[in-house]
Structure formats: structure tokens, C-alpha cells
């Protein structure tokens, strides 16, 4: 599902990721953790090709991201579900439009867009807020809309960058349960978080980054 070989990435000469080699198999649930500045976000940005590495090879869903052409990037991203810490909802669009937008990119019929958006939002308990705008929602609700948007295309791989960063602990655990459910349904999930308590409460394979290097690859945080 994901293959990284000796990935190097730096910003203005300052290394962010240094020689990371790792694989994630289809159907795995993986935590990516480490202190702030360890390179977690860069690692994820490389996976959804928001960045290109300075060296190494990245293969996601069978696509070599370094060799990928620009015009292929959009199609590639449609096979991913990406959840961001700051939600990245389209502010000028309603909740329903945020979710149907990705479906409209695939030229899905209006009726089908509405049906699938309703189901995705219902899964998040937000089907009654379809007409609301993101600013009218709480942080937790916005994050659930973002997840509904990420899942509405039924992606093979979900990447979440600090998805609980703006949520209180109770909401964070609810969200993790949601990711677990998605995982049990067969989706590969990679969650970047610096919240050790969250990993302890939901143990899974954990990649630990420090100063851009992969320093540990094992089960849970305490091993």
C-alpha cells in the first residue's frame, strides 16, 4: 500500500525528513508520532504528494509519486482520504456542498451526490447540518464533516494529520473510535499524532520520528 525508500526532504537546507524507509501494508492501522518538528506532517504531505522528496522513492496505492505527472496528481488524491488538523473545509460552501464537492469532481449525478453525502454525514451524526456553513459548527463537528468528506469516496487509504489536535479528549477518543471502525471495514489508516495518551488508549503499530528520522517501528508507544 505504502512504500518509502530512503526518503530525504529539506526546506531551505534544513532537513525535515532524513533517510526514512518504511512500508505500510494494505488494511493496516498505523500511528505516526514524535515531538513537534519531528517531521510527521512532512511525512504525510509526502504521502499525498503535497511535497516531493529531495531523494528516495515513494509508492502509494501502486503510484510512484516521484515519477507521477502533475496532471495525474488529482486522480491519485481522489483515491485517498486526507483529514487535516485544521479541517480544511471550504468556508464558502455548506456542509453538504463540502461533501458533495469531491463527488462532483467525479461527475457523479446530483441525486447520487446528495444520497452519498447524506449517508456519509449520517455516519458522522451530522445529517441534520447539511445546510449549515462550517463557521456555524463546533470544532468537533467540523472535523467530522472533514472526515465525512474524506470517506465519501470510500478511499483505500486514509491519512490523518493530527486529527484530534483541535478537539477535547472526549471528542478525540470518539474520533479515534471512528478511525478504528473505518479500519475494521478494510481501509488502511495512517494517523499522525503527538498525543501519547491517544496511542496508549488505542494501541496499534506506531512509527516514531525524531528530528526527521524513523527511530522506532513497533506496536504501541510503550514497547
Amino acid at each position: 500500500m505504502i512504500l518509502l525508500e530512503d526518503i530525504i526532504k529539506s526546506y531551505r537546507g534544513r532537513p525535515a525528513v532524513r533517510g526514512i524507509t518504511a512500508t505500510v501494508e494494505k488494511g493496516e492501522f498505523v500511528f505516526l508520532t514524535g515531538p513537534s518538528g519531528a517531521g510527521k506532517s512532512t511525512f504525510l504531505r509526502l504521502l499525498y504528494r503535497a511535497e516531493l522528496p529531495d531523494g528516495g522513492r515513494i509508492v502509494v496505492n501502486g503510484h510512484d509519486l516521484v515519477a507521477m505527472r502533475r496532471r495525474e496528481v488529482a486522480e491519485f488524491r481522489r483515491r485517498l482520504g486526507v483529514v487535516f488538523q485544521d479541517f480544511k473545509l471550504l468556508r464558502r460552501r455548506s456542509v453538504g456542498e463540502n461533501v458533495t464537492f469531491v463527488l462532483s469532481l467525479l461527475r457523479v449525478s446530483e441525486k447520487e451526490q446528495q444520497r452519498r453525502a447524506y449517508l456519509a454525514l449520517k455516519q458522522m451524526g451530522l445529517q441534520h447540518r447539511m445546510q449549515a456553513y462550517p463557521e456555524e459548527l463546533s470544532g468537533g463537528e467540523q472535523q467530522r464533516v472533514a472526515i465525512a468528506r474524506a470517506l465519501v469516496l470510500q478511499p483505500d487509504l486514509v491519512l490523518a494529520d493530527e486529527p484530534t489536535g483541535n478537539l477535547d479528549p472526549e471528542r478525540a477518543h470518539e474520533l479515534m473510535e471512528l478511525f478504528r471502525t473505518i479500519h475494521y471495514q478494510g481501509t488502511t489508516v495512517v494517523v499522525a499524532t503527538h498525543d501519547r495518551a491517544l496511542i496508549e488508549a488505542h494501541p496499534a503499530r506506531t512509527l516514531v520520528l525524531e528530528k526527521g528520522k524513523l527511530v522506532r517501528d513497533g506496536w504501541g508507544i510503550t514497547q
Binding site: 499525498y48 504528494r49 503535497a50 511535497e51 516531493l52 502533475r70 496532471r71 496528481v73 488529482a74 486522480e75 488524491r77 481522489r78 485517498l80 486526507v82 487535516f84 480544511k88 473545509l89 471550504l90 468556508r91 464558502r92 456542498e97 458533495t100 464537492f101 469531491v102 462532483s104 469532481l105 461527475r107 446530483e110 468528506r149
Partner: protein, 277 residues
């Protein structure tokens, strides 16, 4: 995509606000101006300066008898020509009709002060030969040819049209620049949103199309306003100068021209959009 697309275009038109309104008005002015020029140009070409129109030649004869003699000889030499002699009295009466404010002066002058005129209508192709023939006659003192003033009118009309169309073109360029700025402002205002759209799998065409359509709509709205203004102007002018009509096909061309100008401006404005790595 269609519902999202048109909803987005509508949002952008609303968000373009005062700048968008300026763009619409500028396109309206440019297209109205262009339509007026085009119609006038067509009118001059088709009505006043038509190549099939007969040329008018006016010759001053020394005496009424000389005028009659020359007329007879001319009609024999050029059977396609036609004409008549206007005696000095007739010339004076016509002048009084044209310039009634000078009637007292004109009627006070001796009849001998007015010339006897020979007025001729000849085919355009023969006008030079007829004028030359008349000039060579000793009974004729002066020959004036409508072709001369028509050529001057044509030269002046060509120069005015060139300047006018250049101005209309400059205005359209101005429209492009205003639409460019409007689209650039929208792109800057939506930079975060565009980045998000890319991250969730939007193609460049999905991102750019609403902006292009917004530019097109601004231009087409301006062009439509221009066409309405031009139609209104033509109705106003019709009562005083019925011969002055709109050039055929000018009304539908104006919204299209505005739309193309808007589209071009939007395309240039989108050049500011950063691309994927």
C-alpha cells in the same frame, strides 16, 4: 459538476463587487462605442459612398445659352449622363431656400451676380472623363465634381474610424485589464480554498473554470448592456435620421466581444495561480 460550478460562478460574480461592476460598465461603454462606430462606418460605406452611386458634376457656364449648348453636346457625347440647366434666377431662389436668413441680401443682389449652372448626374466610371470634357470647353468657367468631396469625406471617415476603433480597442484592452485584476483579487482571496480543492483531488480545470466563466460573464454582461444601450440609441436616432440604422448583426456581436474580452482577462488573471509541485 454543473450545480457546483454555476453556484461558484454566481458567488464569484457577487464577490467581485464594485470592481466587477466597473468591469461590466467599462465593457458596456467599449462595446456601445464600437457598435456606434461600426454602424456609422457601414452607413457611410453603404449609403453615402456606395460605388454604384451616380456622381454629380456641377459646371458654371458663361451664359444660359452656352449652358444649353454644352448640355446638348455633352448628352450626345455621353448618352448615359443626364442633367439640366439651372438659370441664375433658379440658383438665387435655391440659395434663398437653403439660407433663408440671407434672403434679404440674396434677393437684393442683381440676378447677373449668380451663375448659370449645368447640373449633371453621370455614372461613377465616367465622371472623370465628363469632368475633363467640360473643363476643356471654353463656355465653362468652373467644374466641381462630387467625387472630390466624397473622396475627402471618405478619407476623413477612414481617419475618424481608425481613431475610433483604436479607442474602442484600447477600451476593450482596459476591460481585459480590469477583469484580470478582478480575477486576480478573487484568486488571492480564495488562495486557501484553491489549495484545499487541490488537496481533495480537484483538477486544474475544475479550479480554473469558475474563474474563467466569471470573467466571461462579466464581459458578456457588459456586452449585453452595451447592446441594449446601442439599441436604445438607435431608437432615439431613428426619429430624426431614419436612414441611420444599426449595422446588421451588430447587436449579437457585442455580448460575444465582451465575453471574449472577459475570458481573455480572466485567463491572464489566472496566470497568477501557483501550480502543483
Amino acid at each position: 459538476m454543473s450545480r457546483h460550478l454555476w453556484r461558484e460562478v454566481r458567488r464569484q460574480l457577487v464577490e467581485s463587487g464594485a470592481a466587477g461592476l466597473v468591469a461590466i460598465l467599462l465593457v458596456a461603454v467599449a462595446t456601445t462605442w464600437g457598435g456606434v462606430l461600426w454602424s456609422l462606418h457601414r452607413y457611410l460605406e453603404a449609403e453615402l459612398l456606395a460605388p454604384h452611386r451616380p456622381a454629380t458634376i456641377v459646371a458654371v457656364a458663361r451664359t444660359p445659352e452656352a449652358a444649353e449648348k454644352v448640355r446638348g453636346a455633352l448628352l450626345a457625347a455621353f448618352p448615359t449622363a443626364s442633367g439640366e440647366v439651372a438659370a441664375a434666377r433658379t440658383v438665387r431662389e435655391e440659395l434663398v431656400q437653403w439660407f433663408p436668413e440671407l434672403s434679404t441680401v440674396l434677393l437684393g443682389l442683381d440676378e447677373a451676380s449668380f451663375p448659370t449652372l449645368l447640373q449633371l448626374d453621370v455614372p461613377v466610371l465616367q465622371q472623370a472623363a465628363v469632368a475633363q470634357w467640360l473643363t476643356a470647353r471654353t463656355e465653362i468657367t468652373l467644374v466641381a465634381n462630387s467625387h472630390d468631396w466624397e473622396a475627402r469625406v471618405q478619407a476623413a471617415a477612414t481617419r475618424i474610424a481608425a481613431v475610433g476603433f483604436a479607442l474602442a480597442f484600447a477600451l476593450l484592452i482596459g476591460c481585459c485589464v480590469v477583469v484580470l485584476l478582478v480575477v486576480r483579487l478573487l484568486v488571492l482571496a480564495h488562495a486557501d480554498e484553491i489549495a484545499i480543492m487541490r488537496l481533495i483531488g480537484a483538477h486544474e480545470r475544475d479550479i480554473r473554470l469558475p474563474y474563467l466563466l466569471c470573467g466571461f460573464c462579466l464581459g458578456a454582461l457588459g456586452g449585453t448592456l452595451g447592446a441594449i444601450s446601442l439599441f436604445g440609441l438607435s431608437l432615439l436616432v431613428a426619429s430624426t435620421a431614419p436612414a441611420l440604422r444599426l449595422a446588421p448583426g451588430v447587436l449579437p456581436v457585442l455580448p460575444c466581444t465582451g465575453g471574449v474580452a472577459g475570458l481573455l482577462g480572466a485567463a491572464l488573471g489566472l496566470a497568477a495561480l501557483p501550480s502543483e509541485p
